[in-house]
């Protein structure tokens, strides 16, 4: 029984923090260099936080938790994020 979900499952948590649609942004994995649209990453909605992993190498690209009204966001697993803004 696996608990894998798609990047869309992190959309709510990410939208609390970022003012743009994160699930359509492209993220380069700091572990293996693969580029994936965030919607296609693998999401684990652990009760303590949301963990977003590379579908290729399992590196945690994004980790986010909300405790005591504060967001804790770890994006060390993202080497670079590309966001195409609407013109």
């Amino acid at each position: 029984m696996e608990h894998r979900l798609d990047g869309n499952a992190a959309a709510g948590a990410l939208q609390e923090i970022f003012p743009f649609e994160m699930t359509t942004a492209d993220a380069t994995c700091a572990g293996c260099g693969q580029i994936n649209v965030v919607g296609a990453l693998v999401v684990y909605k652990h009760g303590m936080g949301t963990i977003v992993r590379c579908p290729s190498c399992d590196t945690a690209l994004i980790r986010v938790a909300k405790t005591r009204g504060r967001y804790w966001l770890d994006v060390r697993g993202v080497r670079v994020l590309q966001i195409a803004v609407e013109s």
Partner: protein, 252 residues
């Protein structure tokens, strides 16, 4: 890559249940009026939050079943899970006139609009049909003729959600084909498929890969992963297969 959108802040809104409709023995549609609703795109979901008197809270995500429209309301379809914490409340307890907290719309990835083109292949399992139904309803409302095929897996005939509406849509629209498979029990006169989606079934129903279809797969994690892998084995481009896994239980 897709262009992104600048979004407003995601805030909890208070809505009122204005209608409920039983779909199957275990699923019910709830229509909620939200004065601050700004609309949604087909495939998006909302987060629902329930609060008990002692402050205990539970949150779940539900796909929006209704097509975008200009009314300040939306419909979600909820499947009651026996060991669920939220779904039994939404299906068995909530009544017209009750209020509930929602936020959304959420998720710009698992979205289809006619401007995305096709041919369109939608694969759903159980309650995974919900976001696909929003896409089909929007497709119909906008008069789109983009060739579309829906493959819908259910356990039994009685458990096909939106069964009559899907019948009507496919009969009145030559550009939409609906295929059903019933995996556990079939009525005596059943002429549809009668097994879990396998490579052969997909080979018969899916668009040929040379047509570069756009595919959306939604439902229990196991079904979604199995179908996605088989589509890739058929020659589908992974970038054009979008998945929305509902988790091991298909939602709660």
């Amino acid at each position: 890559m897709e262009r992104t959108t600048l979004l407003g802040r995601l805030t909890w809104q208070l809505g009122e249940v204005v209608a409920t409709q039983v779909e199957t023995a275990r699923t019910k549609s709830l229509t909620i009026a939200l004065p601050q609703w700004t609309g949604h795109r087909p495939g998006q979901h909302v987060d629902v939050r329930l609060t008990a008197e002692d402050g205990y809270q539970a949150e779940r995500s539900y796909s929006i079943a209704s097509a975008p429209g200009d009314q300040k309301q939306l419909t979600i379809t909820v499947e009651r899970l026996d060991d669920g914490e939220v779904s039994p409340y939404l299906v068995d307890e909530l009544r017209v006139g009750d209020q509930m907290e929602l936020r959304g719309p959420i998720g710009g990835y698992f979205v289809w609009e006619p401007s995305f083109g096709g041919p369109l292949f939608l694969v759903g399992g159980g309650s995974g049909i919900v976001p696909l139904m929003a896409m089909l309803r929007h497709r119909q409302a906008s008069g789109s003729t983009i060739p579309t095929r829906l493959l819908y897996s259910s356990r039994s005939y009685e458990e096909i959600i939106y069964r009559e509406e899907l019948d009507h849509l496919s009969r009145s629209d030559a550009t939409l084909e609906v295929s059903h498979t019933l995996t556990r029990v079939q009525p005596p006169d059943w002429i549809g498929y009668r097994r879990r989606i396998d490579q052969a079934l997909l080979g018969e129903v899916a668009w040929p890969p040379e047509q570069h279809p756009l595919t959306y797969v939604c439902g229990p994690t196991q079904l979604v992963e199995s179908v996605a892998a088989k589509l890739v084995a058929l020659g589908y481009e992974t970038a054009r297969v979008k998945t929305e896994r509902f988790g091991p239980t298909g939602g709660a």
